[in-house]
């Protein structure tokens, strides 16, 4: 018998009839196994095989550990996402598409008060209404939960207090929407109103009734949820600066604005197991929280992730409405569905924190950055959510890509009576990054040097350590800057454009996967696990818990498996929807999925590959080292005619065993410092990006229009360049919204005034600039085939790039986001008054004449470029830590070299007086200390 199992009666080949129509049942690609003796095996694509293993793919960053398993099948090739057909044909099943037999609908009663005690809830009239099936209140589960184990401050519904307008009070399940809505009006709730807090600055003060109470860890009687202090480096370096600036920023809160509102279906089945369908980014956390809140073991819950219509961080938390649906389903024994309307989406929020950020920075006479002093007061709203982490990220993610003489950060997150802030694309890094990059632009202006050259002369090299101890591996920052400079024709535009037209630069730095799995010890359990199963048909089923939220994680996993096994991507089937069948995965946050899950998938695929090669060895007699995998065929390296089809090798490998099974896992290496909070911001790799934005400012109205963006992002290696470009362009759109128009507006009564998509102004196609995505590939040594994240980092640079371009256009720095037309207009008017100009068209835009310092930075940048290339290619493997630029020896602990070197996580008593807004939280004592004092 030849050809093994056949999918089609007549083999491959004629899949179209004479009239051009397809023959029913025929596949448009040759059947598996056809590679054996059949001619239609695809040729090996040497363009996509690295030079190091005999291909023609350039490797400027050197060899990679995964080179030997590259087959040239999918990696580096642009391809549509594997789930795109389901989406464009309307067949993807999102949260609200789930329909179970006998399903009922539930509605949530929400608080009309900002802050109040719930005295009593009378549900008798609700229960008496015909059509009502179940009613639940906070008393049905008083167990708290939260996305972070350290800050569990949420309940299914209010147990004692409501903490913002829209907070959940009770819920009701009924036969239809109309009955459920009517039922809501029959609840009788008695509240005792409390004094609400809206201003985060007020949150630092003692209150009669703090919004939450943390017992002995509570900070006096304030509403501070978390305070952070970090100080590293030599503080004496900031004395006598050659340039310095100090800016105070106000950034409004923004929302993810995802298309799909939250929706959940809970079904407590006849066997007593809960099935919960939810469009979650992080189903595993939901799984854990459900288990806690419902007091049911995790193995009795199956969390099914539906398709997710956009997440961006806003669908990461376990949500109270998921608990409500489960509680109601348990009570009425029927599937219960809850679908939010848009207003409810804003009520649950978890968007980017409204922030007050202060940044001081200084440079010395060689234009080295001697200090970043950052103070971030962030408005957490009613609950903790991811806030513990956000409090750190606002500071620590500013410690790169620049080499710093010193770094000082004070951060505080306060509870206020507003919908809770949480994680949003670029979590915690976005606002501070904008403030820092605009400060650098200002510093370049003060030093009369080009801001790109200033940056190029102060970059940390590849394989180095930041001032706070983060391990930088691959680093494409320099290349990104160079590429946008060239692409945008920067040198002929910067400070040379006419009034109203401007160009600006901004950089970004972001984690590629949080190094610390929140729920367990990384030394004990892996971050991600992937199982692969291959049965007789040759199809490869991949079980992964990675949550596809539109970012393309399923495609990335399918791609890497296809690459290792040299199979068409259509033969890879990723199963990732159910917790019953998927190995535990932490989910889609911190830009971890491609890095961690694809690494796990590669390891699992290598397991299958080894089994296939060993089988082929038995069949044709050549050692696996001499065998090549290519398009469903395994053959002898030096004579392709000696080989065996994939399917034959597979069946040989299956003899006596049945289906091939393999498991792979990823865990991050031990890294980072030992100080308090050292794990925050720690990642196995970091992404870098640089954008140049060109903007037109209507001088008379203050309306800004970003026209062009050159966006370079170092994603290590683009597994799927099409997807990476999509992420870059999408990030530009999302970040641009925060710069020009998006804000959650809280009016004078403290109510969110614009909880709808007409008044919450997401940029339309008219506001979208022409984006030129530029992919930089630094080939990360630990990334899957060199890949790093591309989902969040690309958002960061657009904000400062636009703000800096506005300065280039009109010579005005505005430290309030968003730059709405009125904000810009009044800034212009202020400048007109200051310059006694009547007509704004008479204003002048800034110009630049280089100082002697320009030569210094250019020369240093040239030297550093040589240094960076050598380090990137591992030609230079010497140690490098932040501080070498200032003349320190990387091989001796810095505190041993410099007397004033500090690495502290608490302020010195003499520092207390001079701390910024958030720093004021350090003036308060925790309850346990106060008790000690008494």
């Amino acid at each position: 018998m030849s050809g093994g199992y056949k999918q089609q009666p007549s083999g491959g080949g004629n899949i179209t009839r004479k009239d051009g129509k397809r023959v029913a049942g025929k596949q448009s690609f040759p059947p598996p196994g056809s590679g054996g003796s059949r001619p239609q095996m695809a040729k090996r694509d040497l363009q996509f095989i690295p030079e190091m293993v005999g291909g023609r793919e350039k490797q400027p960053a050197g060899a990679h550990v995964h080179d030997r398993i590259r087959t040239g099948t999918t990696v580096g090739k642009s391809m549509k996402l594997v789930d795109s057909n389901a989406k464009v044909t309307g067949q993807a099943w999102y949260g609200d598409d789930v329909r179970l037999p006998n399903e009922c609908v539930a509605k949530i009663l929400r608080s009309p008060h900002h802050y109040a005690k719930v005295i009593s809830i009378d549900t008798s009239k609700v229960e008496a209404l015909p059509g009502v099936l179940a009613v639940a209140t906070g008393q049905d589960s008083t167990i708290s939960f939260g996305v972070l184990p350290v800050t569990k401050d949420e309940h299914a519904m209010a147990v004692d207090k409501v903490r913002h307008v829209g907070d959940l009070v009770a819920c009701v399940a009924a036969v239809d929407d109309a009955t459920a809505l009517h039922a809501l009006s029959l609840f009788e709730v008695e509240y005792e109103e409390l004094e609400p807090v809206f201003d985060p600055k007020k949150g630092l003060e003692d209150a009669d009734e703090p919004i939450h109470w943390r017992g002995k860890y509570h900070l006096a009687k304030t509403n501070v949820q978390k305070r952070v202090f970090q100080e590293f480096g030599d503080r004496s370096l900031i004395d006598k600066p050659s340039a310095s600036n100090h800016n105070k920023w106000t950034m409004k809160g923004v929302h993810h604005g995802f298309t799909e509102p939250h929706a959940v279906v809970a079904h407590w089945g006849p066997n007593g197991r809960l099935q919960l369908y939810t469009p979650s980014q992080v189903p595993h956390y939901t799984h854990r929280a459900l288990s806690t809140v419902l007091s049911v073991p995790m193995h009795q819950i199956n969390v099914i992730r539906t398709f997710v219509g956009g997440g961006f961080g806003g669908k990461s938390d376990p949500f109270p409405h998921e608990m409500c649906a489960a509680l109601l389903s348990r009570k009425c024994g029927r599937p219960v569905r809850i679908t939010f309307d848009r207003e409810e989406v804003y009520m649950i929020n978890r968007g980017r924190h409204p922030s007050h950020i202060e940044v001081k920075m200084s440079a010395d006479k060689e234009a080295r950055i001697t200090g970043f002093d950052i103070d971030a007061l962030i408005d957490g709203g009613g609950f903790a959510s991811f806030g513990h982490v956000t409090s750190y990220y606002n500071g620590v993610l500013a410690t790169a890509p620049y080499e710093l003489g010193s770094f000082h950060y004070t951060g505080a997150r306060v509870w206020t009576n507003k919908p809770a802030s949480g994680a949003m694309r670029g979590h915690g890094a976005v606002n501070t990054r904008c403030a820092v990059e605009v400060g650098l632009d200002q510093m370049a202006e003060d030093l009369s040097v080009d801001p790109i050259d200033l940056r190029l002369a102060n970059l940390l090299p590849p394989h180095s350590r930041t001032i706070s101890g983060f391990r930088i591996t691959s680093n494409g920052m320099r290349e990104a800057l160079e590429k946008v400079r060239e692409g945008s024709d920067w040198d002929n535009k910067f400070r040379q454009l006419p009034l109203g037209k401007g160009i600006g630069i901004g950089c970004g730095f972001f984690i590629s996967g949080s190094g610390l799995p929140i729920h367990w010890d990384p030394n004990k359990f892996p971050h991600a696990t992937v199982h692969i199963q291959v049965d007789m048909d040759g199809g490869v089923t991949v079980h992964s818990g990675a949550a596809e939220i539109g970012q393309g994680s399923t495609t990335a996993i399918a791609q890497v498996v296809a690459e290792v096994l040299a199979l068409p991507i259509e033969m890879i089937h990723v199963r990732s929807h159910e917790s019953d069948t998927s190995p535990v995965d932490l989910g889609s946050y911190s830009s971890r999925v491609t890095f961690m899950n694809a690494n796990a998938a590669i390891r699992a695929a290598i397991g299958i590959r080894d089994k296939l090669l060993n089988a082929a060895w038995e069949m044709i007699g050549y050692h696996p080292d001499l065998l090549v995998l290519n398009d469903r065929r395994i053959y002898y390296k030096h004579d392709p005619s000696i080989g065996v089809s994939y399917l034959k090798a597979l069946h040989k490998a299956q003899e006596d065993k049945g289906a091939l099974i393999s498991s792979g896992a990823y865990r991050s290496p031990p890294m980072g410092g030992v100080h308090k909070g050292a794990a925050a911001g720690l990642a196995p790799a970091y992404s870098f990006s640089a954008y140049v934005a060109e903007t037109d400012v209507d001088i008379e109205t203050g309306k800004i229009k970003c026209t062009n963006v050159w966006a370079a992002h170092d994603c290590g290696r683009a597994l799927n360049p099409l997807a990476v470009k999509g992420q870059i362009i999408g990030s530009c759109h999302m970040g641009l919204g925060q710069v020009i128009s998006e804000e959650m507006v809280y009016g004078r009564t403290g109510h969110l005034q614009n909880a709808n998509l007409l008044e919450y102004k997401i940029p339309s196609v008219h506001e979208m600039p022409n984006v030129v995505p530029i992919i930089v590939e630094s080939c990360d040594p630990e990334g899957p085939f060199g890949a790093k994240e591309a989902g969040e980092g690309p958002l960061l640079p657009i904000l400062p790039a636009v703000v800096n371009s506005v300065y280039d256009a009109i010579g005005i720095r505005i430290n309030d986001l968003p730059l709405t037309p009125d904000t810009v207009y009044f800034a212009i008017e202020k400048k007109m008054k200051a310059q006694s100009v009547d007509d704004p068209l008479e204003l002048e835009s800034p110009r630049l004449t280089h100082s002697a310092m320009q030569q210094v930075v250019v020369e240093r940048a040239v030297q550093h470029k040589v240094r960076d290339i050598a380090r990137q290619r591992s030609d230079d493997t010497s140690a490098y830590v932040n501080g070498v630029l200032f003349g320190f020896d990387p091989n001796i602990p810095l505190e041993d070299q410099v007397e004033g070197w500090r690495a502290a996580t608490e302020p010195l008593p003499e520092q207390l007086a001079e701390l910024g807004f958030a720093g004021k939280a350090w003036l308060k004592k925790e309850q346990r200390e106060l008790e000690g004092d008494n």
């Binding site: 109309a178 309307d341 008379e700 109510h751 007409l758 339309s764 008219h766 506001e767």
Partner: protein
């Protein structure tokens, strides 16, 4: 979002429509007219001033007519944006309304009768209950105005239609029908200074069409619209101007989205012309005079202070063509 149930009526001509209205009035039933529904239906979904009956004008014969001198109430804005005989200024204004998707449904009549808007009012039911309602939709509570507290006699919600100022500067006439017959008013007299009453339509009456004088065809003009995004958004301020080339005295200017009604600025224009037209200087002083004549309040996206400032810029830009 679930709309409260209502009965939808589908008259196929004006007489039937009037008959249904008359019957409902006699029965003491409240009702709304609906044309394209892009304004009414969102309000209904938010449970804002919903009524048990809705009479649709969609099937009224001939109500979608478009010509240089006549536009029916059911003329779709998307049809007004393409060359089909309508005045170029109307084409320009219609193409700036909302988004292409909404223009497919929205109508001329609906745009003229647009409900006034206010961020204390255009909110979901729970939200409005949480602020204890407002004067415009008080749900029987007798609530005060939230924009200007301590006065509950006048609603200051803002009229944010785009077509009205443009029809005003083309001197359009509004044709109104109802159970008691037909009447005509100039579009300048159509609006009534109260965000709740909005216009002169009496119970049972609806706007059938607008007609434009033949002379309007000699007019050229310009419409300037201020908004945050160049799609979707209602105007935050709008200024329309028209003139007959070579005829200095013909200048007409109207503004919208600044108060509860769109407004003609005849007074400021005639003052400027009386003072002797002096090119750019006159443009400047006229723009300032128009700016001074309007008083926006804080109930739309952008601040009233800014919107007022922008009137000057919009007016200047609208009459720039007049200079040449």
């Amino acid at each position: 979002m679930l709309m409260p149930p209502f009965t939808l009526h589908h008259p196929s001509n004006v007489e039937q429509a009037c008959e249904i209205a008359k019957q409902l009035l006699e029965d003491g039933q409240q009702f709304d007219w609906v044309a394209g529904g892009t304004d009414l239906i969102p309000n209904y979904k938010w449970h804002i001033n919903t009524k048990p009956h809705v009479i649709s004008l969609a099937k009224i014969e001939g109500a979608n007519v478009i010509s240089a001198t006549e536009i029916g109430c059911m003329a779709r804005l998307s049809d007004l944006t393409i060359a089909n005989g309508a005045h170029p200024l109307i084409v320009e204004a219609a193409s700036k309304v909302a988004s292409s998707l909404i223009r497919k449904n929205a109508t001329m009549g609906g745009n003229l009768c647009l409900d006034t808007r206010c961020f204390w009012y255009n909110q979901g039911e729970d939200w409005r209950r949480s602020i204890d309602w407002c004067h415009k939709a008080d749900c029987g509570s007798g609530s005060d105005c939230r924009v200007i507290p301590n006065q509950n006699t006048l609603c200051v919600a803002t009229y944010q239609g785009d077509l009205a100022p443009n029809l005003m500067v083309l001197e359009a006439v509004v044709h109104i029908v109802g159970p008691s017959g037909q009447r005509q008013v100039s579009i300048g007299d159509f609006y009534q200074l109260d965000g709740k009453k909005k216009n002169v339509l009496e119970a049972g009456e609806f706007l059938l069409k607008v007609t434009l004088p033949k002379e309007s065809q000699q007019r050229t003009g310009c419409y300037q619209k201020l908004r945050v995004r160049d799609s979707w958004d209602f105007p935050e301020a709008g200024v329309a101007a028209s003139w007959i080339a070579g005829d200095e005295k013909s200048l007409l200017i109207a503004s919208t989205a600044l108060e509860s009604i769109p407004k003609m600025h005849d007074e400021q224009v005639s003052e400027a012309l009386a003072a002797g037209w002096n090119g750019a200087d006159s443009v400047k002083s006229l723009s300032v005079a128009i700016q001074k004549s309007i008083n926006p309040v804080n109930n739309t996206t952008l601040t009233p202070r800014y919107r007022k400032k922008m009137v000057r810029v919009l007016a200047k830009r609208a009459i720039e063509g007049f200079l040449q």
